[in-house]
Subunit: 72 residues, 2 copies
DNA sequence: GATCGATGTAAGATATTTTTTACATCAATG
DNA sequence: CATTGATGTAAAAAATATCTTACATCGATC
């Protein structure tokens, strides 16, 4: 069934702010595929904590600067 | 295959600090089973971002107050 | 206008998380 | 000492995340 998780994310925005890093390039860096980045940006599923940390740390920010909890 | 993720967590400690909340009770509250809480506490896998947020918010703290990235 | 890079969709396979069920131990307590 | 609540282990099944591959569109540029 897989619902849409109540989580927001700024991955796309952060990519743009970092020199227009492509989805494929970010995927390579954090160790997932381009498809995974697409799905995360589209909010199709909530990534693992590990992938989330890798993305945040690559941009040099905290987890909650990238991913937000709806209802906060 | 499933390696141990480079993530630390203070779930057990937070449970104790919150009146000795049991694993089963925490699981009920955040919507997962007792087995899932056990596995998370033991670091057997990295939970979904959604489960992580629910745990943190139940204790009234930020995600990174519960889960830490080794290598920070 | 052919090519190239970035993004998107989709489907089937694989990996990992989560559930379910069952049983074991230990501390506390009746 | 029987029971009860909390924790632990284990294994199979179910759910979900991730990968792989393939094809389509769009904007830029040669």
């Amino acid at each position: 069934m897989s619902k849409r998780p109540p989580i927001t994310n700024r991955v796309r925005q952060l990519r743009e702010e970092h020199g227009g890093l492509s989805q494929a390039a970010l995927g390579d860096i954090v160790g997932v595929t381009r498809q995974t980045i697409i799905a995360i940006e589209q909010g199709r599923y909530s990534p693992s904590l590990e992938t989330s940390f890798r993305i945040a740390r690559h941009f040099g920010v905290g987890l909650e600067d990238v991913f937000g909890w709806e209802g906060d």
